[in-house]
């Protein structure tokens, strides 16, 4: 954890997220606390059902914690309304999903333009920015292709361009390479690392692929809705047993 003395960009304090009630109650997050400083590249790993995606959704303001505090730039997001959270996503956050989540039958350019429309940008500015973002991810010349005409790696590049077009502070990537082959996955990771450096981005990435997680400089390992390990990316193997103190396999 980089301790710069600056207040953290993101601070989670004792966050719980409970689905269902009574017998069917599921504690997806159970007292999770961590900070993320501006400019960090954080990987969140853990077995299925460990709450890593839920943590990501809470950080991305797509989900609300059941209890606890979430400070974004010092503002307690837990107290924001649905529309205020939408504004926060619009101006500070960018998303990259495992399934790309591009609008079908909509060109790459239009997909990248989408967040800018909600930012209320005029058309000329929008087109300029969207083209610029596509160039940045190496898709110059593919502006007018539909997602169906692009390969998986290209689709994910469009998604990254879309996440970046609105000039966010934080990019949240939920298994960004989960649907891609190894070679393409590495290309996408290289792109993320490059963009992070060029734009001083903060990146939070959920993944279960060790090779991809290695690109981050900090690792949070989650088990059963709790943070089991939080620290700089270790040099040793990244598997469950190694991450959880006191557990031997």
């Amino acid at each position: 954890m980089a301790d710069t003395g600056m207040p953290p960009l993101i601070r989670l304090e004792d966050i719980t997220r409970i689905y269902g009630t009574g017998e069917a109650e599921v504690r997806a997050l159970d007292g999770v606390s961590f900070d993320i400083a501006a400019g960090e590249f954080l990987a969140i790993m853990g077995p299925s059902g460990s709450g890593k995606s839920t943590a990501m959704n809470v950080v991305g303001c797509l989900d609300r914690p059941t209890s606890g505090h979430y400070f974004f730039n010092g503002v307690d997001v837990a107290g924001l309304t649905r529309d205020q959270r939408a504004l926060l996503r619009r101006h500070y956050l960018g998303f990259v999903f495992q399934g790309f989540n591009l609008l079908p039958r909509t060109t790459a350019l239009e997909n990248v333009e989408l967040p800018l429309i909600y930012k209320g940008m005029d058309r000329t500015e929008r087109l300029h920015r969207a083209r610029e973002a596509l160039r940045l991810v190496g898709l110059e010349g593919r502006e007018h292709h539909d997602p169906s005409e692009l390969s998986g790696g290209q689709q994910q590049r469009v998604a990254i361009a879309r996440a970046l077009s609105g000039a966010p502070e934080v990019v949240l990537a939920d298994e960004p390479t989960g649907n891609l082959d190894t070679k393409t996955s590495l290309e996408i990771m290289a792109l993320l690392v490059r963009l992070r450096q060029e734009r001083n981005l903060t990146i939070v990435m959920v993944t279960h692929e060790e090779d991809m997680a290695r690109h981050a400089d900090r690792l949070i390992w989650m088990v059963d809705g709790k943070v089991a390990h939080d620290g700089p990316m270790p040099d040793g193997p990244l598997h469950g047993a190694a991450m959880v103190p006191g557990v031997t396999s």
Partner: protein, 403 residues
């Protein structure tokens, strides 16, 4: 933002052209029906007014009974007028140019093997002059025929054609009910009236002959009065009401047992009936607008479900609930306005054809088209709101997971 929503709406609608077309069909039919009804109704009202006014704006109709045209509250028991009353009006009121007695019945006219049911009108030359209705074959009534009530008659063009075909009827004898009657002339063809009834479906005979041989009494069921040029019809009408009260010895406390109507009243009464009918038919047609609205709501709900993932993506990149709501609401309104446009075109086309067929003037009213537009937009808003709100309230995470 609204411009973007419009573009999106048009794109979404034309992505599935057939479905969109079927969806708006209800609106199309509703709007078309309302516009066609109202336009044809308006045309026929205009026609009625024009027809009545063609009788002359200086015409008054005097009838026994309080409400001459409406249902008779006194059960037709009002004292009838007689020929004497017509003469009294003429002598007492210098403002009156002509007054003519009128009686009428429907009878079967027979000539040779042909027979034809027609209206038989008992009156005199004064009526034909006042209505500017010339005899084009043969001659009008002579004074002695009118005075003695001789069984002579003048045929309307339709009756002539039905009974005589191309032969000359003048000098022949036809039978009207049980009465034999010599044909002395044929009237100029007038064509259909506003209600589609044929004005040439008529046989005219002297009023005295009509009273004695057809009606079997000395009543006059209606007095047709033409006011001299330069006199106000309203004034003459008032004066006539005074005169008639005096003639019929109606006490100051009693109500009139007759009515004097001018053409304005007659026209407004006839168009009133017409307007009520138009209104009723339009209301029925408007129900299909409602049905069309439900169709739009249905397809918008389907669309919201189909596009759940898209909604999730939009929410993730920062769309607010209101913006998603607006997007789907605009789509519903554009859809129903499209129906409004198609419906207006279809409705005006139908009205043009209908007006042609009913031979009424085709007078499209921009206000009606505008109202139909406004109404279809309203339908879009009302029925689009529920699906749009459903879209706006979707949970972003679940929407993104939706397959």
């Amino acid at each position: 933002m609204i411009w973007e929503a419009l573009k999106l709406a048009v794109k979404a609608i034309f992505r599935n052209t057939l479905r969109s077309f079927l969806t708006v069909l209800g609106i199309v039919i509703g709007v078309a029906a309302v516009i066609a009804m109202v336009t044809v109704g308006q045309g026929s009202s205009d026609r009625v007014t024009a027809d009545v006014e063609s009788l002359g704006t200086n015409v008054l109709i005097v009838q026994p009974g309080k409400d001459a045209m409406g249902p008779r509250r006194d059960g037709g028991q009002a004292r009838p007028f007689g020929l004497k009353d017509v003469e009294t009006i003429l002598t007492e009121m210098p403002e009156v140019e002509t007054a003519a007695p009128i009686g009428s019945r429907t009878l079967t006219a027979v000539f040779g093997n042909e027979n034809h049911a027609t209206q038989v009108l008992g009156t005199d030359n004064r009526y034909l002059r006042a209505t500017d209705w010339p005899v084009v074959m043969g001659r009008g009534f002579t004074e002695s025929e009118e005075r003695s009530g001789k069984a002579v008659c003048i045929l309307g063009e339709t009756v002539r054609t039905e009974l005589f075909g191309f032969a000359d009827p003048v000098g022949e004898t036809i039978r009207l009910g049980t009465l034999s009657c010599d044909v002395i002339g044929v009237l100029e063809a007038k064509g259909a009236s506003s209600f589609g009834s044929d004005q040439d479906e008529i046989v005219v005979m002297p009023i005295r002959a009509f009273q004695r041989r057809v009606a079997g009494n000395t009543n006059v069921s209606m007095i047709f009065v033409a006011v001299r040029d330069g006199f106000s019809t309203d004034d003459v009408k008032l004066e006539m009401e005074f005169l008639l009260r005096e003639m019929r010895r109606i006490g100051p406390e009693e109500e009139d047992d007759f009515s004097v109507m001018d053409m304005k009243q007659l026209a407004s009464m006839l168009t009133g009936i017409n307007n009520v009918l138009t209104g009723l038919l339009s209301a029925v047609a408007a129900v299909s607008l409602l049905v069309g609205g439900i169709g739009i709501m249905n397809i918008m709900l389907v669309s919201v479900t189909e596009r759940t993932r898209e909604i999730g993506i939009r929410l993730a990149v920062g769309a607010q609930g209101g913006q998603v709501l607006m997007q789907f609401l605009v789509e519903a309104v554009v859809l129903s306005l499209l129906g409004g446009v198609l419906g207006s075109i279809l409705g005006l086309a139908l009205a043009a054809v209908g007006a042609q067929m009913l031979s009424v003037p085709f007078t499209p009213d921009p206000l009606v088209v505008l109202m139909a537009f406004a109404f279809s937009a309203l339908v879009g808003v009302v029925f689009g709101f529920f699906p749009a709100r459903r879209a706006a309230r979707l949970d972003p995470i679940e929407a993104l997971r939706h397959q």
